[in-house]
C-alpha cells in the first residue's frame, strides 16, 4: 500500500477525519462501564488523563515527523534502528493494529447481533464486516481517507443526538465531585488508553498528507476534540444513568439513546444503532489500513493491493471468530491499553533520542 501511498495523498481534512474517526468505534460504547466501575461518578476525569498520555505520544511522533519529513513510521524505524530490530518493531506495531482492528470489529459485530439481528450467526455478521473492510481497503489510502471524510459529519450528527438525553440527566449524579482515589484513576488510565491509540496513526498518515505542516497543526484540535468527546459522553452516561447503573451495563451509551424521545423518530436507539454499526467500522478500517501500510513495508510492496486487502479482511474474519466472547475481547482491548503505553510513549521517546543523536552526529 505504501507504493500507492506514494502517489496518493491525503488532504489535511481527510487526515483529520481519519484520526478522529479512528477513536470513535466500539470503545466509546463500552468504556463508560469500566470507567464508572473504576472511578464512580468521577469517571469522566479518566478520559482527560488518558488523553494526556495520548497527547504525550502525539508530541513524540509529531517531533519525529518534523525531524524526518515525508518518512512514515516503518521507514523511520529502518533509518534509526538496525534492520532486524526495525523489522521486529514493525511487526509489533502490525500485531497491535491488527488486534485492535479485530477486537473492535468483534465488539461491533456483537452489538449488531445483540440489538439488531439476534437470530443471525456471528460468522455471518463478521463476514459482512470483514468484506466491507477488505473492499474499502482495496481503494487504498485515498479511498479510506475519502470514506472517513464523508462519514465524519454523520459521526458528529450521532453525537448531537445524545444532547437531548441530558434533559433526563441529574446533575446530582456527579456529586460528590473529584473524590475518587488517585490510585483508582491511575489504574483506569491504561484501560482507556486503547481508545486513544490514534496517536500511533500519526507517523503513518501525517507524512502522506499533501500539506504536512497544515495537517500537523490540525492534529492538536483533533486530539482535543476526541478527549473532550470521550469525557462528555462518559459525563452524560453518569448524569443520565448514574455511576452505579453505568457500571453494570455492557453498553451504557446505547441505553442513553433509548431514553431520548425525539418526535417523528420513535426508536432513536435503532436509528443510532443503524448508523453506528456502520460508523463503528471506521476505527477497524483505519487500523487495518495502518496494518496494511506496515505489511506493505515488510513485504517490500511485492503483494498487489487487492491481495493484501483480501488477506487483511480474511485475517480479521478469522481472528474475530477466534475470540471467545465479548468480555474476553474487551479484556484484550484493556491489555492493549498497556501495550499502547510502550508503543505510543516509550518507544517513540527512544526513537526521538536516537534521532537526536543521529542528527547531531
Amino acid at each position: 500500500m505504501s507504493e500507492i501511498s506514494a502517489r496518493e495523498r491525503l488532504t489535511s481534512r481527510q487526515y483529520t477525519a481519519l484520526l478522529a474517526g479512528s477513536a470513535f468505534g466500539a470503545g466509546i460504547l463500552t468504556l463508560p462501564r469500566y470507567l464508572c466501575a473504576a472511578a464512580g461518578q468521577d469517571a469522566w476525569v479518566i478520559p482527560l488523563l488518558a488523553g494526556g498520555t495520548m497527547c504525550l505520544s502525539a508530541l513524540c511522533f509529531l517531533r519525529l515527523c518534523r525531524r524526518f519529513p515525508g518518512m512514515t513510521l516503518p521507514h523511520l524505524m529502518q533509518e534509526l534502528l538496525p534492520l532486524p530490530l526495525a523489522n521486529t518493531a514493525v511487526l509489533l506495531y502490525l500485531a497491535y493494529f491488527l488486534t485492535v482492528a479485530a477486537s473492535s470489529i468483534r465488539i461491533v459485530a456483537e452489538i449488531t447481533l445483540l440489538y439488531l439481528l439476534p437470530n443471525t450467526p456471528l460468522w455471518a455478521v463478521a463476514l459482512v464486516y470483514s468484506l466491507f473492510v477488505g473492499y474499502t481497503l482495496s481503494g487504498g489510502l485515498r479511498g479510506a481517507g475519502r470514506f472517513n471524510e464523508l462519514t465524519g459529519f454523520v459521526l458528529l450528527f450521532g453525537f448531537l443526538l445524545l444532547l437531548p438525553s441530558l434533559r433526563e440527566g441529574r446533575m446530582t449524579n456527579l456529586a460528590p465531585m473529584l473524590t475518587a482515589k488517585p490510585t483508582a484513576l491511575l489504574t483506569a488510565i491504561p484501560m482507556a488508553c486503547y481508545s486513544f491509540g490514534i496517536s500511533l496513526l500519526i507517523p503513518l498518515f501525517l507524512p502522506l498528507t499533501d500539506d504536512r505542516s497544515r495537517a500537523a497543526k490540525h492534529t492538536w484540535p483533533t486530539l482535543c476534540f476526541v478527549v473532550t468527546a470521550f469525557s462528555l459522553i462518559t459525563l452524560t452516561s453518569v448524569c443520565v444513568l448514574g455511576a452505579d447503573t453505568s457500571a453494570h451495563m455492557l453498553f451504557p451509551v446505547i441505553t442513553i439513546y433509548k431514553s431520548v424521545s425525539v418526535p417523528v423518530i420513535e426508536r432513536l436507539d435503532l436509528f443510532f444503532l443503524t448508523l453506528w454499526t456502520v460508523l463503528a467500522v471506521r476505527p477497524c478500517l483505519n487500523f487495518a489500513l495502518a496494518a496494511g501500510q506496515l505489511s506493505d513495508c515488510l513485504l517490500k510492496n511485492r503483494l498487489p493491493r487487492r491481495w493484501l486487502s483480501a488477506g487483511i479482511g480474511l485475517f480479521l474474519f478469522a481472528s474475530m471468530l477466534l475470540q471467545t466472547d465479548i468480555v474476553g475481547t474487551i479484556r484484550i482491548l484493556h491489555w492493549l491499553g498497556y501495550v499502547f503505553l510502550f508503543l505510543g510513549i516509550v518507544f517513540p521517546a527512544l526513537l526521538l533520542i536516537l534521532s537526536r543523536k543521529k542528527v547531531s552526529a
Binding site: T11, R13, Q14, T112, L116, L117, T120, A124, V125, V128, F132, Y135, T136, G139, G143, R146, F147, E149, L150, T151, E266, R267, L270, T274, L275, T277, V278, V281
Partner: protein, 487 residues
C-alpha cells in the same frame, strides 16, 4: 501525369463494379476537352449541389472560363469550375477510396496528380428540435442532432469566443466516425485535455455508432455501474460545461454529446435549475437528491422494516400492513421482487414500443394488471405503492444513464435488506458510498465536492446559490482561469 488519371480511373471503375451505389460521371473539361471523372456515393452526396456547383460549371461553362483558361489543370479546375468551399487534395489510392466511402465527391482529371475531394454532404438530417429528456420551460429549446458540423455550429453560435478549440479526429477502423473535442483554450486544464485525447486515441475499434461507445471506451478500466460521464442533449448545457473548464466530445451521427470530467452531483442537475430563481433551483435539486435516495432505497427499506423491524412503523400502519400481508402467500422479498420485475418490464416495453402503443401499454398494465395482481392476492397494495413511488422517483433523475443505474441498484439493495434487515440496508449503502468515492472521472473525484470536501463548490452541487455568487469556476474540476465574473 496521364498515367495517374488512368490508374485512378481504373480504381474508381473497380469500386463501381463492386458497389452499385457508387456513381461515376465522365465529363470533358473545356476548352481543350480534358477527360475528367466525378465519382460519388449515392444517397450521401447532395445531388442538387453537385449539379449546381460541379457538373453545371463544367458542362455549361462561363465564357471567361473557355476564353481564358489557366495553364495548370488543377488550378484551372479549382479557380474556374468548382464552386465548392470544402476542398481537399489526396494523392494515394487508399486515401481516395476511404474518402469516397465517407461521402466525399472525388474529381480526377487527366494531366493532374491525385484527386480533388469535395464535401457536398446531402445526407438526410433533422433540424434541431426540442430535447427528448432534458426539457425546460424557461430555457432554450434547441437540441443536438445527428450532424457533427451542425452540433459544433450550435455550440459556436452560443459561445462566440475565439478561444473555443475544436479538435477533430476519426475513430473506428471501418465506420470512420468523426469525433470532435471541444474545450476552452484558456480555461480547461491542459492535463485533462491531454488525458481525454489520450483515451480517445487509444480506442481501436472497428465501429463507433453513437457517443455511448465513446463514453464506455474512454472510461477508466474496472467495473462500475455508475456513469462517469455526462450525456448532453442541449447546446446550452454543453456551453455551460465548457465555461466550467470541462471538455465536450461530440460524435458524428449521435444527438448526445459527452462532457468530461463529470462529478456525481452534476448528474442530478438540470438546465432549468439555472434559468429559475436560486430557491426554485435549490428546491428542485434537493428534491432530485431525495428522489435518488428513495429510488434506490424504498423497496429495500420496506423489505427490511416489514421483515425485521416492524415495530419502527407506526402502529396503525403496521396493523394495515399485517392484515394485507396475511392474504399474500409469498414472503415480502418475493412479493417485492415480483412487482419490481413487473414494473421494470412495463418500463422496458413502453420504451421499445411506438409512442401511442407504449402509452396504452403503460395505462393497461398500470391499472388493469396492477388491479388484477391485488385482486389475486399476489401482492399487497403497499408493495405496489412502494415500487411505483420508487419508479416515479427514478424518473426525476435527469440523466438517463444514472436512472438505469438506479434501477439496477434498487434491485441489488433488496437482497442485503432481506438478509440482514436495516443493518444490511445501511451496510449496502456504505458499500455503495465506498464504491462511489473510489471512482474518478478523468482524474477528478466522482463525489466531489463532498468527498474530497471542497466548500467553495457547494454553492453549485446539491444547492444552487444565486448566480452573483458564482465568482469562481468549480474548484473540483480544476481550471486555468478560475475567475468567472467580477464580484
Amino acid at each position: 501525369m496521364a498515367d495517374d488519371y488512368a490508374v485512378l480511373r481504373r480504381l474508381l471503375h473497380d469500386i463501381r463494379a463492386r458497389d452499385d451505389d457508387i456513381i461515376l460521371r465522365s465529363v470533358s473539361l473545356p476548352p481543350n476537352s480534358v477527360p475528367c471523372t466525378v465519382a460519388f456515393l449515392d444517397g450521401v452526396v447532395n445531388k442538387e449541389l453537385l449539379h449546381a456547383q460541379v457538373l453545371s460549371p463544367i458542362l455549361q461553362p462561363e465564357p471567361y472560363c473557355v476564353d481564358d483558361p489557366l495553364p495548370d489543370i488543377r488550378e484551372n479546375l479549382l479557380r474556374r469550375f468548382l464552386c465548392v468551399s470544402e476542398i481537399k487534395d489526396v494523392s494515394d489510392s487508399t486515401g481516395i477510396e476511404k474518402e469516397l466511402y465517407t461521402g466525399a465527391v472525388v474529381v480526377i482529371c487527366a494531366g493532374m496528380r491525385g484527386a480533388i475531394l469535395l464535401r457536398l454532404d446531402g445526407f438526410m438530417r433533422r433540424s434541431p428540435g426540442a430535447p427528448l429528456n432534458d426539457r425546460t420551460v424557461s430555457g432554450p429549446r434547441d437540441s443536438f442532432t445527428e450532424s457533427l458540423p451542425g452540433n459544433i455550429g450550435l455550440v459556436r453560435k452560443k459561445l462566440a469566443d475565439p478561444r473555443l478549440r475544436v479538435k477533430k479526429t476519426v475513430i473506428g477502423r471501418r465506420t470512420r466516425t468523426n469525433i470532435a473535442l471541444l474545450y476552452m483554450d484558456d480555461i480547461a486544464l491542459p492535463d485533462t485535455v491531454r488525458e481525454v485525447e489520450r483515451r480517445l486515441s487509444s480506442i481501436d475499434i472497428d465501429g463507433i455508432l453513437a457517443s455511448g461507445y465513446i463514453a464506455q471506451l474512454t472510461e477508466a478500466p474496472g467495473t462500475s455501474v455508475f456513469p462517469t460521464y455526462r450525456e448532453i442533449e442541449r447546446p446550452d448545457i454543453a456551453v455551460a460545461a465548457l465555461l466550467e473548464g470541462r471538455i465536450v466530445v461530440i460524435c458524428d451521427h449521435s444527438p448526445l454529446a459527452l462532457s468530461f470530467p463529470t462529478v456525481f452531483a452534476e448528474l442530478l442537475q438540470a438546465a432549468e435549475d439555472y434559468y429559475e430563481k436560486p430557491v426554485a433551483g435549490t428546491f428542485a435539486r434537493l428534491l432530485r437528491w431525495a428522489c435518488f435516495f428513495l429510488a434506490v432505497s424504498l423497496p429495500a427499506l420496506y423489505v427490511a422494516l416489514v421483515s425485521f423491524r416492524p415495530e419502527i412503523l407506526p402502529y396503525d400502519l403496521l396493523v394495515t400492513i399485517a392484515s394485507l400481508r396475511s392474504q399474500v402467500p409469498f414472503p415480502v422479498i418475493w412479493e417485492t421482487l415480483f412487482i419490481e420485475f413487473a414494473v421494470q418490464a412495463i418500463i422496458e416495453s413502453s420504451l421499445r414500443l411506438p409512442e401511442p402503443l407504449g402509452q396504452t401499454i403503460g395505462v393497461v398494465s398500470g391499472i388493469i394488471v396492477g388491479q388484477a395482481i391485488i385482486s389475486a392476492s399476489l401482492a399487497t397494495p403497499m408493495v405496489l405503492i412502494v415500487v411505483a413511488l420508487a419508479n416515479i422517483c427514478t424518473f426525476c433523475i435527469p440523466s438517463f444513464s444514472l436512472s438505469v443505474t438506479v434501477r439496477i441498484l434498487r434491485l441489488c439493495m433488496i437482497f442485503p435488506a432481506a438478509t440482514f434487515g436495516i443493518f444490511g440496508f445501511s451496510l449496502a449503502w456504505m458499500f455503495l458510498l465506498v464504491h462511489m468515492q473510489s471512482l474518478d472521472s478523468m482524474g477528478v473525484a466522482y463525489l466531489a465536492p463532498f468527498s474530497p470536501h471542497i466548500p467553495s463548490d457547494h454553492k453549485d452541487a446539491a444547492l444552487r446559490a444565486p448566480l452573483q455568487s458564482f465568482i469562481r469556476r468549480p474548484k473540483s474540476i480544476g481550471n486555468r482561469n478560475t475567475r468567472r465574473q467580477r464580484p
